[in-house]
Assembly symmetry: none
Homo-oligomer: 422 residues x 2
């Protein structure tokens, strides 16, 4: 028995085990994530709803011959993003999919936003999400999104705010999109234990960036100074005459895909946050020609020979679910379905189709419901699930698993894992 | 809360809980393990393969009326030997079945082999697996198994090698079977952190038994000396003119069945390794009249009154799977099936039928695929699984469990567990 083997023995968690057992091989894995995929039926299952449709989830309603055929030739199941009953944010949900325990590693929104715009965060940086807002003469918030100013306006504002100096801290203010930006404070001993200033309501004053611990007091002063300086500059930028700060966060130390799984991974996503999440675990984010699923699949095809793991992120299923648009969510699934044959043509050794969590249009929000999954591989034990839906997948051969178990299964089916023990 | 209660609370693993809750009762448990039971369909499930058989696993193909009838009257499920995606060796796979966490306890091959031949290992012994091999004039390996010499020849060679003296170490060289043997070094401060000398290839020189840590340096010198002395002796034993060393290991400290579960267990197995594993957890290994399943069942019948737990190990399902012999594996299952009525005639309180892992003939190796399980007991909640197969069991009442959960279920159904808490 070798030394490194023994060292890992004492660590019971699965990630260390994978680090020890995984090996680089030519086989390829595609993880195709439809954000917020799982849904809930509109109308009771045994009756007909107002549209004359029998109660069906978005996925059940969608016409998706390719996904159904794939489910039939694969092993299926349902996935709890974290554990039963827990509704995850996008960060923890993706960490789980990436085989990184979301209960051990937490990613603050500030870090997500900064990563999403490709800002090169350093170890001690403190990243904070900015929402530009409108306040009235009394300082009370009248619009928490500053009338959704244009991204162009946002860029000009951020240039102005970047001039703020608070020695010895370096400050970077960067545009994300519309009313959203991110500020990065660079310096020693900065703390993320600062209260958010967004009261999440209009008609009230913004909150103070209070220190939530003794260690955070000096940071709190810096943030307060920043807010008061910013306020002076923003007077001339009405309706964006105020900023609200959320998600104070320092970069987490996540093990990379290279380190943990001996993979050379690539990410294909259209939204900044998902690119950011992928970068945090060591993925190369591929350039896209546009923002459609078609562009994502084209990027997969063009880069297929250069990587052995691909994460593809489809956003539309989640945003339509969040909007409560059951019909549009089904349409996004139908759109994605059309590209399945092009993915299969690449002959990946393992193709996984799932979501990061459920976003039922009925709830207009993320939910805790398990997400259906298809695992397609020549080494899979095909079950008798004959269509891709929440209900059918419950009876699949994978049973009910946790998102954290997807990467070990993907690696196993791609035959990238050594046997454990003699 | 009482003091001992609080002590147990801090231990998160289930074994401590079982130690606390289990009690001795007259009820009897039989754990019938078909090694490598789970399989994969030959040919895709939706087509017909070259033999004109629709894609079926070995288990689905086997004619096994008794197992099917038993599944119908039992609760079924599928078992991950370790966790989803992890392919286990025989050691960790059996530890899981024996309710002993395979991620906490690791057993090296040397120890497995020594236990398998009933060698009374002492606490500080270092056990190492020997493969006799053939080398050419340049010392390069030409056959890693020395033409599979007979066991009789092996015995003579081991007698010669036992004459090697390296003071103050005691050396025991013992025959296992054909080209396989085991050497036990007894002395102080021996380390298992020694590199294996088998290069796992022909045409190259054997490797040096290098120390993998500073502490192992003195052990490395002893092993090197042993190899050079052995080489001199083996000159006269061509084709077994060299030995290759693997699996340097010291005995693990495993909790016994007596201690953990208050059971008086017996093991019925034909292969040394499984007898060895059973002994490591305190099982009495029963004598068999021969090496067939029939002999195993006869031993069960004869000793039925003397124990309250029986582990029965069927090897043929694994060896046929490893050989890629789908048809033979199905035949072994059919052979085992014939003895189910004799087992049932004993009226065990709990009969569990499962495997330690999957060995699909398609892969010719152990695999990570979950293994079907039948749990038969008057206290089981019968589900609607109506045949014993991987696909049918997925829908069983046990769902997808881990091997480590089998012992608690067995004890519970045998009504050997007290209630937890007031």
């Amino acid at each position: 028995m070798q030394k490194d083997t023994r060292k890992c023995n004492s660590v019971s968690n699965g990630t260390s085990l994978l680090k020890r057992l995984s090996k680089t091989t030519p086989s390829k894995i595609i993880l195709f994530v439809m954000d917020g995929l799982g849904g809930l039926p509109i109308g009771p299952a045994d009756s007909t709803n107002i549209n004359g449709v029998k109660g069906k989830t978005e996925l059940e309603h969608a016409v998706k011959p390719n996904l159904d055929a794939l489910a039939k030739q694969s092993v299926c199941g349902v996935v709890d993003p974290i554990s039963p009953g827990i509704t995850p944010g996008s960060g923890p949900a993706h960490l789980g999919l990436f085989g990184c325990d979301p209960l051990e590693h937490e990613i603050g929104r500030g870090v997500l936003e900064a990563s999403g715009i490709n800002f090169p965060l350093e170890e001690n940086d403190l990243a904070v999400r900015i929402n530009f807002a409108t306040i009235d003469k009394e300082g009370k918030i009248t619009d928490r999104r500053a009338g959704r100013i244009s991204t162009e306006t946002n860029i000009k504002i951020c240039e102005d705010l970047s001039k703020i100096k608070i020695d010895p801290i370096k400050i970077f203010v960067k545009t994300v999109k519309e009313h959203r930006a991110v500020v990065i404070f660079r310096g020693e001993n900065l703390s993320e234990e600062i209260a958010e200033t967004d009261p999440q309501a209009v008609g009230t004053l913004p909150l103070e960036p209070k220190a939530l611990s003794k260690e955070a007091e000096s940071t709190s002063k810096i943030i307060s100074k920043f807010v008061s300086e910013a306020k002076k500059i923003l007077i001339s930028h009405h309706p964006a005459n105020m900023l609200l700060l959320r998600g104070f966060a320092k970069p987490p130390h996540l093990p990379s895909f290279q380190e943990n799984f001996h993979l050379n991974p690539a990410a294909i996503a259209t939204y900044p946050m998902y690119k950011g999440l992928a970068r945090l675990v060591g993925m190369k984010v591929l350039e896209l020609k546009g923002g459609n699923i078609e562009d994502e699949i084209a990027a997969l095809e063009e880069n297929y020979n250069s990587h052995d793991f691909f994460f593809i992120h489809i956003k539309g299923t989640d945003s339509s679910g969040e909007d409560g648009d059951w019909e549009r969510k089904a349409k996004v699934i139908e759109e994605a379905d059309k590209f399945i044959p092009r993915i299969l043509k690449l002959k990946p050794d393992v193709l996984i189709i799932t979501g990061d969590h459920s976003t039922p249009a009925l709830l207009k929000s993320h939910s805790w419901h398990p997400v259906p999954i298809i695992l397609h591989s020549p080494t899979c034990r095909v079950d008798d699930v004959d269509n891709f839906s929440e209900t059918a997948c419950v009876k699949g051969g994978l049973g009910r698993i946790r998102a954290l178990e997807i990467m070990p299964l993907a690696l196993a089916h791609a035959q990238k894992l050594e046997k454990y023990g003699a």
